[in-house]
Subunit: 358 residues, 2 copies
């Protein structure tokens, strides 16, 4: 959100639109330049996970919106309506978490095609409700419209952050440590499994299920973000990982005009991902670096107190966080191997690489 | 918004969904019952033009969302991208106005099909920008996504109202006077003209242009609403007319558990509408009663001071308002003819009746 473009290649490779050269971020900044009205209550506009507003009550408000489109973002073959409902809420909540905020109020639009199965909406709402109760989001309105062919869903979500603890993308400085919550790449592999014929990959059903679950039912890290906002730790930047570690780290680096060294051996890779990759000859490293839809938090810390961060994250919010690298003055991202060799990573890795949304 | 359903018949006549029996409002209330989380900061949730939030700063916040879908809500043949941009902003602003609020911050989602013309988005944003500058709305973020076939647009808009002057649908009491701003039916006839072959209707180009303009470039009545919020006049209920006078008045009547007598001779019908209807054998009355997308305000007043309202609306905000009827204890809507005869109106008139969105 403001703006995260999730164009698939078929839009950007469309020569008629000439967007392939412009790219999605080029498009966003061009469109933004066409808007002339400015408000002094906007603390942070386009260009972060949420916009930040000041409504004079001591806190900031954060506002985000995300659209999910059938065939582009999800398939009704691989997602149950309940899972889709959960995910619709979860991906927006993740944007609020990435600002250090608490989600509060949501409005939803649903474009409903003729072909939708009978009980779809009820089941979709059950999923919405689960996330709404868990994360304390009041869904307070919306717009239900007909759609000529494909289902689409849009959620807009308003949240709140402390004034002094709003985490934005900019702010990372050389020497800051880079952290992620949870593990990386599981969701991307889960999607790969969902979209492939059963026989293509080896591995137990239990293993498959764990990976698929991470894709279908992401858990936004609100609790971690709020704990960090209240903690002594100096978070200098934050983003949620929706398009893959490399790409989303790229946003932080671009905003802070810095670079990063990532430590290959430090990347948090789950046992299911490691095992499944090994059996099937896939690169767990590539998945961890570039797989999308992790919905983990990526943040930088101006602190030497790495050990106490790791301990408190377990004791206070029961959520492992892992240092994966360090911010450098030198631009670009380098992957440092176990033997100390340094390899430059392409920022363009991630998103389309594994998700195959085209 | 919260919830205005704009389903076309093709969804509600779809037996597989069994929505034809349920109806759009039945659906909305069934879905609402599935959501269990409640927040004490929600002053007004689903069921009005906007949801109303209290963020502890002395004012209320109002939040609304509206989706526009190609082929359902607009055709790229009849709307220029600029007009569509304006309208996207205007229809949401109209919902904020209908609460007595001022629009403040917007986030937009755009689903972009491959087939979109080269400069569409730039031109669309020019239209957005015009409305954004005129109505002081800061567009602060969004989501640009690919759409497999049709263009869709969703805007979510956050505004602010005074705590003691938030206008909701409920509150009309027997004896209250019913008012509308501007004139009624022009937009519906404008759409009719846009969608018909040139030769079908008689009438000058100037006449056609005026009617079409009202459809393509609605002016939300923010100024009137804010003037009323600051005035001595006791507004007891308000809604914007998006689905036609009869249908939107129906929402006010249902919310207040009251009925209404409408005076046929008082309905504000523009000269272009009257003239064009006369030439072409159309019923200006039907268009005024049931035509959609007027985006005028409909409100009720607990006051005898009708003359001073009419005068002040001209002198203070340069906008005619007209008394069109009176709230009754007896349910239903009756149209009182010039000769004093009373005829019951069907609430189901309006929306699909003229707009032919199916």
């Amino acid at each position: 959100m403001p703006w995260r473009g999730t164009f698939s290649k078929k839009v950007f490779n469309n020569p008629a639109m000439d967007l392939s050269q412009l790219g999605e971020f080029g498009l966003i900044s061009r469109l933004q330049s066409l808007l002339k009205y400015r408000s002094s209550q906007v603390i942070k506009g386009i260009g972060d996970d949420c916009a930040v507003l000041s409504l004079n009550n001591g806190n900031y408000q954060v506002l985000t919106t995300d659209a999910l489109v059938e065939t582009v973002h999800f398939s009704l073959k691989s997602h149950t309506p309940e899972q889709l409902g959960w995910k619709t809420m979860a991906v927006n909540i993740s944007d609020i978490a990435a600002m250090g905020g608490e989600p509060k109020f949501a409005v939803i639009s649903i474009g409903i095609p003729k072909s939708l199965p009978v009980d779809f909406l009820d089941r979709f709402y059950k999923g919405l409700n689960q996330a709404s109760v868990k994360y304390k989001v009041a869904l307070i309105g919306g717009d239900t419209v007909a759609s000529p062919k494909h289902l689409f869903i849009n959620l807009a979500l308003l949240g709140e952050t402390r004034k002094k603890k709003v985490f934005v993308r900019s702010g990372a400085r050389p020497g800051d440590k880079i952290f992620v919550t949870g593990t990386l790449g599981d969701s991307a592999l889960g999607l790969k499994i969902l979209e492939s014929p059963r026989k293509k990959w080896k591995g137990s059903d239990a293993l498959r299920k764990k990976l698929i679950q991470k894709h279908l039912r992401p858990e936004p890290r609100v609790e971690v973000a709020n704990w960090l906002a209240k903690s002594k730790f100096k978070v200098t930047s934050m983003i949620d990982i929706s398009d893959g570690l490399t790409q989303d780290l790229g946003h932080i680096l671009k905003a802070g005009k810095v670079g990063a060294d990532l430590s290959e051996s430090s990347l948090p890779i789950s046992k299911p991902l490691l095992k499944y990759s090994l059996i099937n000859g896939l690169s767990a490293l590539d998945l961890a670096l570039s797989g999308g839809e992790d919905y983990e938090l990526l943040f930088t810390l101006d602190s030497e107190d790495v050990i106490s961060l790791g301990t408190e994250s377990i004791t206070k919010v029961d959520q492992p966080v892992t240092q994966v690298g360090v911010i450098t003055a030198k631009k670009g991202i380098r992957l440092i191997s176990k033997t100390g060799r340094s390899k430059a990573l392409q920022r363009s890795m991630g998103f389309n690489h594994f998700k195959g949304k085209t």
